[in-house]
Each structure stands twice: as C-alpha cells, then as structure tokens.
Amino acid sequence: MSILILADHDDGQLAPATLNTVTAATQIGGDIHILVAGDASGEVAKSAAAIAGVSKVLTADDAALAHGIAENVAPLIQSLASGYSHLLAPATTTGKNIMPRVAALLDVMQISDIIKVESADSFQRPIYAGNAIATVTSQEAVKVVTVRSTAFEAAAAEGGSAAIEAASGSADAGLSSYVKSELSSSERPELTSAPIVISGGRGMQDGSNFAMLEKVADKLGAAVGASRAAVDAGFVPNDYQVGQTGKVVAPDLYVAVGISGAIQHLAGMKDSKVIVAINKDEEAPIFQIADFGLVADLFDAVPELESSLG
C-alpha cells in the first residue's frame, strides 16, 4: 500500500494539520508520500521532506496551483492517483474544497473527516454534529479520505529525510482565479492548534467585550474563539467560530465564556482535555460537560480571572 497526502500550506509554510494527517497515514500503514502543489513552494517541500515517516515528497510548481485552486489541483491529484491505495488530506477548508472534486473525478466516494483508523479500509467519523459516530468501510480501489487533525497526534516535524521529486501534469483549467485574501492577523496562536482556547458566546453582548477575553488569552498564550451565536450577532468574524460548521478544536484547556452550549457548539470542542464554563445561568447545558463550572456574571469573573493570572 502507498498513501499520497495533499499538503496544506500557503506557499510559505506547511500547515500543522498536515502533520496530524501523516499520523493517520502511519496508522493505515504503507509508504507515505506528500504532494506539495503550489507556486514557489520549495520551503514547504523541504518542511514536508523533514517529517518523520515520509518517504517521498512530490512537488508541482505552477502559478495555476497557487492558493489551492480546486479546479487546477484536483486534476493533478487525479493524474497521480494510480498506484496509490489512499489519497489523504487534512479536513481544513483547503482539503474540504479539493478532495471531493478529486473523488468525483476518480468516481469514488470520499470518507470525510475521519477521527479513527480501524484498518486500511475502515474508519470512524462523526455524523450529526458528533452526536453519533459511524464506522464506515470502503471497498473503493482508492480511498479518498479527509482527516480531522484534532483526532490524531502531530507527527514529528523533524527527523525524516524524504527524497523530493518534481511531478508534472498541472495546467490551468481556466475556471477560477484568485483575487485576494482578507486574513485575520493575530499574534495569538492559531485556533485549531492552540494549547488553550478561550471562547465567547452570545453572553458577551457586544464585539468590543471580546477585548476582555483577549487580555486573558494573552496571559495564557491562548487563542480566542466564539460560538456561532456570537458570530451571527456580528461580534467577531466567522473564522473565530468553533462548532459543527466552524472549526473543531481539542486543546488542553477550553474556556467557554457566556456560551450556553448548543449541541452544534459542543460538536466543535467537546474533545478538549479540560473544559471550563463561565455562565450566569446555572441551567446552561455547557455545565453538563464542563470539568469546572463557575456560575457567575462573566463581566465580573473574566476581569477577576485576568488579574489573578498575574
């Protein structure tokens, strides 16, 4: 068996979720290759080649492959697919955009967002916002799989010395072109890989009140997240959203502030190691899954928390 992983990157840096996907591939077993498709992504290829357990890195460098344009990347993966038993990608917005297009081109059904490898052809994945876990078996000739990064440890970023080879076959399909990005700039750690996350919900009342959470986050080295309710209310941008339709996080510590705990939110954070809930409504469902619950007005508790962290 051999496995091809689509690296997630921005042409400058390899996204950490790629490391978790390598671990999933290791559990499947077989030769592990990584495809770095992009434009001038030589540094990314070097990082990929250094990951422990990877035997080969394929690079495809073309202006048409910049920004992960699905219409251009998917045919490239299709052309490389023969000889591989599995095609994997992290279930990031890039992987989720490209891999179903690859699966359809290959006429196979994709298995989305796996959280456990049972065997080379059997996987567990959450359904109904994580309220049920399905074990899915595939007899497809090539298994197209996206991997939930929080469910797998990261592979060691150093220690490997894979060969780097150029892959050909890319072209511009002429269907989509990149215009621009508006990326949230933050000095804080990235939400999905941060060791501590502090999130606010509708109880925050206003976007400006998130400054309170940011102060705590800066003392803890934490990322700041939000519930869908807070995003819908316009308090914070959508890339803060933790939940079924947002990001899935599993930090060592998750602090939910003014979040009631709708099942859609719990779907995105209930695998966190330690959960703290601060809410003035003692009946809030979030308390049913919190390790430490504090029934208090967040406008008193959060500043007090910040000052007590020194």
Binding site: D10, H67, I69, A70, E71, T93, T94, K96, N97, M99, P100, R101, A104, V108, M109, Q110, I111, S112, D113, S122, P126, I127, Y128, N131, A132, I133, A134, T135, V136, T137, S138, E140, L175, S176, Y178, V179, S181, E182, L183, T192, L220, R228, V231, D232, P237, N238, D239, T245, L253, K270, F287, I289, D291, F292, G293, L294, V295, A296, S308, L309
Partner: protein, 249 residues
C-alpha cells in the same frame, strides 16, 4: 438565467439525535424533519438574485423518499418557481446525488447551482464539489458573498484563516455558508400558493444513474459520554483547580 437549488431533507437541527439500539443508524421514525439549514440559505440567495433581476427562474430539486415533496413545497412557499422530486432511498451518498444532479443540470441548463456547503445529518461536505467536478464547472465553496458580473461571479469564501475572494467562470456551482444571508419565513398566503406550483416527479432509474452505495456503514454508536465535573464557587478556586489539579495553566 435559471438557478437550480438542490435541497436535502434532514432531521430538524433542534432535535436531539438518538442512536438506534441495534447500532445500525440513528432513529428517524417519528422525528421532526426539515430542510437542511444550509440549503435554506441557498434557496434564499437564489430568490434574492431573482428579485434583483439577476435570474428569471428558481428551480428546487430534492432527492429522497416521497416525503421530500414536503421539503420542496417549503422551498416553493419561500418563493421558488418550480420543483423536481427524484424518488430515491433516504440514505443516498453524495457521489450518487451529484450524478443525479448532473442529469438534472443537463435537462435544465441552469447558469448557477446554489447548494448548502454541508448537510447537518451526514456532515459530508462533498456534494457541491462533486457536482462541479462531474460537470467540469468552476466551484465556489463555503461562500458568504456573491456578486455576478457578466459571465463570471466574484465569490467570497470562508476559509480557515479569514476570507478569500475568487473570480469563478459561470456556469458554476456555489456552496453556501452561514453568513451569506438570513433565510425568509414563508407567509401563509405563499404556503397556499405553493400548493399550486408545478412539481415534477421522477425516479433515479429515469435518469439512468446507478445509486448503489459505495461505502458500508458497519456500526453507528454514541460518542463516549463526557461526565460533568464540579462547580467552583469563585474565580480563585477555579484558578487553583486549573493550576494544581488539572495542571493546565
């Protein structure tokens, strides 16, 4: 231009899902069903495009058992012009759905397909991308803004790090995200009117598509339960527990 909107009938998002005792799936009997919330956003966007003069017909299509006609009627009550029901079993995979939709597209020749980015039952997030692949069309996924300019569309995509703007050539498939719009409620007069709107019915076999499942679901189970912890009395106790007991700060 015609806009095609595929809609899925799913368990209502407010319902607490229960796994069947025999671990073959989740309990669907006597459970409230509704249109997939993301598909409601797709219907709304198609209607807004039509109201702004950018489209002349909105066609809703749903694949599944006969009850899916109720879901189509909901879209018609919101304002869609016409419905197409494709009779199929409830459990049908995204690849088969995409193949059926490809045949519908061949017959209807829409300029745009608006569809929800994922269904809240199987959480697959595949159908739109697969349909675009089978048609050889451009795809704009997880879209929270769209502007049509002649034969192309500028879309704003919700990506992990923020927003991404793409220009996609039409015809195209657009999968919609939460912040695109707030779907309207159907008014009572419109619900009455919807009953008279045309709704065609056909089977998967009529479209010549093999819908046999490719994957086997061998077991469905409850996720491991997370036990409730303790209540702390104040911030000082919380910080103490986090430092000395959980050792996470």
């Amino acid at each position: 231009m015609k806009v095609l909107v595929p809609i899925k009938r799913v368990i209502d998002y407010n319902v607490k899902v229960r796994v069947k005792a025999d671990n073959t799936g989740v309990e669907l009997a006597n459970v409230k069903m509704a249109m997939n919330p993301f598909d409601e956003i797709a219907v709304e966007e198609a209607l807004r495009l039509k109201e702004a003069g950018g489209a002349d017909e909105v066609v809703a299509v749903s694949i599944g058992p006969s009850q899916n006609q109720e879901t189509i009627r909901t879209a018609l009550a919101m304002g869609a012009d016409r419905g197409i029901h494709i009779e199929a079993p409830h459990e049908i995979e995204p690849l088969a759905v995409a193949k059926l939709l490809k045949e519908v597209v061949a017959r209807e020749e829409p300029g745009l397909v608006f569809v929800g980015k994922q269904a809240i039952d199987d959480d697959c997030n595949q159908t739109g991308q697969m349909l675009a692949a089978l048609l050889g069309w451009a795809q704009g996924t997880f879209v929270s803004g769209i502007e049509i300019k002649g034969d192309s569309a500028n879309v704003v995509r919700e990506v992990d790090g923020g927003l991404e703007h793409l220009e996609i050539k039409m015809p195209a498939v657009v999968t919609v995200d939460l912040r695109l719009n707030e779907p309207r409620y159907a008014s009572l007069p419109n619900i009455m009117k919807a009953k008279k709107k045309p709704l065609d019915s056909m089977s998967a076999a009529d479209l010549g598509v093999d819908i046999e499942p490719r994957l086997t679901i061998t077991r469905v189970e409850e996720p491991p339960a997370r036990a409730a912890g303790i209540k702390v009395s104040d911030v000082a106790e919380l910080v103490d527990k986090l430092k000395n007991e959980a050792k996470v700060i």
